[in-house]
Every structure is written in structure tokens, then in C-alpha cells.
């Protein structure tokens, strides 16, 4: 157990390091000079001074060494534009994005458990067809379009919810809805098909044969055995969710991490972009480790293969 955690952690660290390195090099080769973006009217000498001040005149590898050194000391540098430390900017935008992620995950999981169970236990019926069709429909709608439609429906027309920026809890409603719709669609399909798969197994019939009720068989057999595929797909959907967040925040001008990231890239705000990339990859690595360990814990056959039992 501990061994595999350590192994995964080390691998995760390596992956993060690679991401940091590759993105560092790529970022510095993006055409467009922060000094020119920051001070377009300055003389070449002044711009050179800005570059020197930010350490941009050094060779890329030297810059990288300095960056990693500072990073390990907990210093992610200053934003070039917001005249604030990267840590502070992240501190403001992370909670906003976290709210979106947590709420949309929660709502989606609950909704898709209900819908997936209905569809999976009535597979082949009209009800199942209906749920599955609606799921495909919402899965086929691009996030940004759904967001824009929500803006038109609830913002522009009805004026019920704020559609731009962040001004309290109400501002989160529409972005969360935009994230929930496709996520619920995907998870509903996964839950439905893994329930059908579990129900087709012989041990469900064996459970019925020893007098277990339908409800009992659902919780103890069908649902329980569907947990692993569902967890795996939640894990893979998290990566997708992060991507969606960037988009949805862009449409709603919601000042979370994604929105900050986009603006930072457009403005060549290297330090900020770099920090956000690190954050994303750490998040992804951690989620993957948790999912890996979780599925191993849940599946005795994997535990046996790992030599735990």
C-alpha cells in the first residue's frame, strides 16, 4: 500500500516537473515580448531594462533554475500586470473556481445517480430511452453555447441571474448549470451502462435466490459493483471539467482560475501562466493518484494483484 503510494507520488512529481519544464520553455518561446506589451512606448533601452529586471535576458535554462529555486521557497513571483504577487492573485481566483468545481460535481453526481439508476433499472423501456436520449442531447451541446444560451435566457431576457463577472453567490448559478448539464449527461450514461452490466452478472441472481430484495440487490450488488467504473469516469471527467471551467468562465467573465489563465496567456504574463499550469498539473496528478488508489482499494482483485491481501 505505502509502496504503491510512494511510487505513484514520485511518478506524479516527475510528471509535474516535466510539465513545468516544457511549459517554461514553450512560454518563453511564444512570440511577443512582455516588455513590449507592458511598455509599448518605451525606448529599446528602457524595454531592455524591464527585461533585465525580470530576468528575461538570461538563457532559458538559467531562468528555469532561478524559477525552480524560488518556487521551492514558496515564491511564484510577481504578476507583470496586476502588480500583485502571483500567490495573491491565485488566492483570489482559486476559491471561485473551486466553488464551481465542487458544486457542479456534487449536483451532477446526485442527479446522474438518480437518472442513471432509473434508466439502468428500466433498461429498454421508454423511460430509459427518454433519459438516454436527453443525455445524448446535452452531451452534444458545446459548453460555451449552453453558457451563451443561459446568458440569453436568464440574463439578457429575464434578468434573473447576473451573467457577467462575480457579485456574490447568485453569480455562480448559471456557470454551475452550464457545467452540470454535460457532466450529468456523461455520468448518467456511465452509471446506466455499468448498472446494466452489474445486473447481468450471475451473482445478482444468486442474491435473489437467497432471498435478497430488489432494493438490497441494488445497493449491495448493482450499485456497489458500479462504483469503480463510475469513480474512474468521474476522475477522467475532472480533467474535462477543468477545461470546461476555462470556457465557462470566459463566457460569463467569471474571475476564476480559467479566466485568469486566459488573460494571463493573452498578456504574456509568464509567471502567472506558469503558476496556473503548475496548479492544473498538480491537481490532475493528485486526482489520478486518488482514483488509482481508490479503485485498488475498492477492488479486492486488484488488491490481490498488488499483494495487499
Amino acid at each position: 500500500m505505502l509502496g504503491s503510494v510512494l511510487k505513484r507520488l514520485v511518478q506524479g512529481l516527475l510528471v509535474t516537473f516535466c510539465v513545468v519544464f516544457i511549459s517554461f520553455v514553450i512560454l518563453r518561446s511564444i512570440p511577443g515580448d512582455p516588455a513590449k506589451v507592458m511598455a509599448p512606448n518605451a525606448t529599446p533601452e528602457q524595454q531592455q531594462a524591464i527585461r533585465d529586471g525580470m530576468g528575461l535576458s538570461e538563457p532559458v535554462l538559467t531562468q528555469f533554475r532561478m524559477y525552480v529555486g524560488k518556487m521551492l521557497g514558496g515564491d511564484l513571483g510577481e504578476s507583470y500586470f496586476k502588480s500583485d504577487s502571483v500567490l495573491n492573485i491565485l488566492g483570489q481566483s482559486i476559491p471561485l473556481s473551486a466553488i464551481l468545481v465542487v458544486f457542479s460535481l456534487l449536483v451532477s453526481v446526485v442527479l446522474s445517480l438518480i437518472l442513471g439508476t432509473i434508466a439502468g433499472t428500466h433498461s429498454g423501456t421508454l423511460l430509459d430511452r427518454l433519459i438516454s436520449s436527453i443525455a445524448v442531447l446535452f452531451q452534444s451541446m458545446p459548453n460555451y453555447w449552453v453558457s451563451t444560451m443561459l446568458v440569453i435566457l436568464f440574463g439578457v431576457r429575464a434578468g434573473i441571474f447576473p451573467t457577467m463577472g462575480y457579485s456574490g453567490a447568485m453569480s455562480c448559478v448559471l456557470p454551475v448549470v452550464a457545467l452540470v448539464l454535460p457532466l450529468t449527461a456523461v455520468l448518467t450514461k456511465v452509471i446506466r451502462s455499468s448498472l446494466i452490466e452489474s445486473y447481468s452478472q450471475e451473482f445478482v441472481r444468486a442474491a435473489y435466490a437467497r432471498g435478497v430484495s430488489r432494493v438490497g440487490a441494488y445497493f449491495r450488488y448493482a450499485l456497489r459493483n458500479s462504483l469503480i467504473p463510475v469513480c474512474i469516469s468521474i476522475g477522467s471527467q475532472l480533467g474535462f471539467l477543468i477545461g470546461s471551467i476555462v470556457v465557462v468562465e470566459y463566457v460569463f467573465n467569471f474571475p476564476g482560475l480559467g479566466y485568469t489563465a486566459l488573460n494571463a496567456i493573452l498578456r504574456r504574463d509568464y509567471n502567472l501562466v506558469q503558476a496556473i499550469i503548475i496548479l492544473f498539473s498538480v491537481f490532475f496528478v493528485v486526482v489520478n493518484i486518488i482514483i488509482d488508489l481508490g479503485t485498488t482499494r475498492l477492488d479486492p482483485r486488484l488488491r490481490k494483484a498488488e499483494g495487499e491481501i
Binding site: 429498454g124 459548453n143 460555451y144 480533467g239 470556457v247 496567456i265 492544473f280 490532475f284
Partner: protein, 287 residues
């Protein structure tokens, strides 16, 4: 579980209806994509006299005109052409890269090569697509080729992993061993045995992934980092329309609905293929 003959019947037909509907939609889109220059009713020159003409008002401009008076139907046709081209080529590219990496990785499985390749897919998947695309598209000029490459960058790890796990399942199987004993060479095993068994698993993925890439391409254009005017994509038509959501919300509705229909068609095909090709969903139990 509550399956009566009626609903079973409905299930059977609707699987085929969906497949048929999907094929019709996709065939239609393909036809438009190929023949857009022939089918388009107008050219793409602006006409200031016809700014933001509402749809279904005038027979010669059935879907209305945009902010500088260009026929929206014509623009949508060219948009489909771009979307289909980019999405299709990016999926083909991703599948090719993914298959090669997956096969190599799977056959070298417990080994450094495999570990490196798989961690590489980790890195790839760890990058949120939009951020990756933004960085890449500021590095390279966002034309069709570079967008297709960027899109396939986000997709190839999926194929690589699928191929790899399939190879790993198969390479120790008896029929591969038997083929080896019969003197089948390495390439023959790769192509004839492993490849043949991969195809049923990959086939439904193509339409599903093309759908995903259509969405992603339009997303990039919508965020103004993808296809740049004067090239037309459904995404940048919507980006145009975004300025008018308060006054003329029909404008953004049209390309969106078109996009959803196109993606739905592709998803119908993918889902139906998945059901049709999955033996575990087809099996009948008897005593």
C-alpha cells in the same frame, strides 16, 4: 427489469432509427462540406444594405444576414466545410499517432520505453486542452493545419492508452502464441491479429471523437484563438454573433443549433455502433 415486449421493440427500432438518423445527418453535413462552393446561394461579399436581416423573412436570404450583410446560410455552409475538414483530419492524425505509440508501448510493456510513453500521455492529459491550445496557437499561426494538429495533440493519448491496454490483453493470449508458433512475423501479428481486434473497439470512437473535435474547433474559434476571418468556421460565426446576443439573439442560435445537430448525428452513430459491436450487450441468456 420491467421489460415488456413493447418496450423491447421500441428499443430495437430506436437503436436503428438513431443510427439511420445519424447517418443521414452526417451524410448531409459531408455533402455540404464537399459541395459548399457549389451549393452556396450567395458569395461572401458584404452588403451594407442588408445588415442583420432576420431569418425566414426573405426567400433569397432564408437564414438572414450578418452584421455586414453577408448571407448566413452561405457562411454556415462554408463553416461546416472547415469544421468537418479540421475535425476529421485531427481524429485521423490522433488515431495514427495513438495506435503507433500504443502498439509500441504495449509490446514493450514492462519496460522503460513503455513507462516513458505512458507518463508522456499523463503529461498530455494533465494539460487542460484550452490552455494547451491557447499556448500552442499563440506559438503558431492559427491556420487549419495547426489547429488540426493542436486538436489531435489533445486526443492521441486516449487512443494510445486504449491500444496499449488492448495489446497488453492480447499479447499473452493463446491465439497470438499460436500465431507465433505458426511462424507469423512481428508485423503480421501487429497488423492481422492485434489490429483486427482493435478495430471494433476503435470504430465507434471515430464518430464520437470527431464530434468532440467539431466542438473543440468551434470553441477555439469562438474564443478568437482558432480560425481567423476571412476563413469561416461555425465557431467564428458564433463569435461574431456574440456581440448581438441582447438585440439579435437568433443570430447566435442558428449556428449553435446547426452545430448541435451535427454533433448529435455523430454521437448517434457512435453510440449505435458501440451497442451493435459490443457482444456483452447483445448476448442472450438461456437456461
Amino acid at each position: 427489469m420491467g421489460q415488456n415486449p413493447l418496450t423491447r421493440l421500441v428499443g430495437k427500432i430506436s437503436a436503428n432509427i438513431l443510427l439511420t438518423a445519424g447517418i443521414i445527418i452526417v451524410a448531409g453535413c459531408l455533402a455540404i462540406a464537399i459541395a459548399a462552393p457549389l451549393l452556396a446561394p450567395h458569395d461572401l461579399s458584404p452588403n451594407p444594405a442588408l445588415r442583420l436581416l432576420k431569418p425566414f423573412r426573405e426567400a433569397s436570404f432564408p437564414l438572414g444576414t450578418d452584421a455586414i450583410g453577408r448571407d448566413i446560410l452561405t457562411r454556415l455552409m462554408y463553416g461546416i466545410r472547415t469544421s468537418v475538414l479540421i475535425a476529421f483530419s485531427s481524429v485521423v492524425l490522433a488515431a495514427l499517432i495513438g495506435t503507433v505509440v500504443g502498439v509500441l508501448s504495449g509490446f514493450s510493456n514492462p519496460g522503460l520505453f513503455d513507462t516513458i510513453l505512458m507518463r508522456l500521455t499523463d503529461v498530455q492529459m494533465g494539460f487542460p486542452f484550452v490552455v494547451l491550445a491557447m499556448i500552442a496557437l499563440t506559438l503558431f499561426n492559427p491556420d487549419k493545419t495547426s489547429i488540426a494538429i493542436v486538436l489531435s495533440l489533445s486526443l492521441w493519448p486516449v487512443y494510445a492508452r486504449m491500444v496499449r491496454s488492448s495489446v497488453m490483453l492480447q499479447k499473452d493470449s493463446d491465439y497470438i502464441a499460436a500465431a507465433r508458433l505458426m511462424g507469423a512475423g512481428r508485423w503480421r501479428i501487429y497488423t492481422r491479429y492485434v489490429g483486427r481486434n482493435l478495430l471494433p473497439a476503435m470504430l465507434p470512437l471515430f464518430p464520437l471523437d470527431i464530434a468532440g473535435m467539431v466542438i473543440n474547433e468551434s470553441l477555439l474559434s469562438y474564443m478568437s484563438i482558432g480560425i481567423k476571418p476571412p476563413e469561416i468556421s461555425i465557431g467564428n460565426i458564433m463569435a461574431d454573433a456574440r456581440g448581438y446576443i441582447a438585440s439579435d439573439s437568433w443570430y447566435i442560435l442558428l449556428p449553435g443549433v446547426l452545430l448541435v445537430i451535427m454533433v448529435l448525428g455523430l454521437n448517434f452513430i457512435g453510440d449505435s455502433l458501440q451497442t451493435l459491436l459490443d457482444p456483452s450487450l447483445r448476448q442472450k441468456r438461456r437456461g
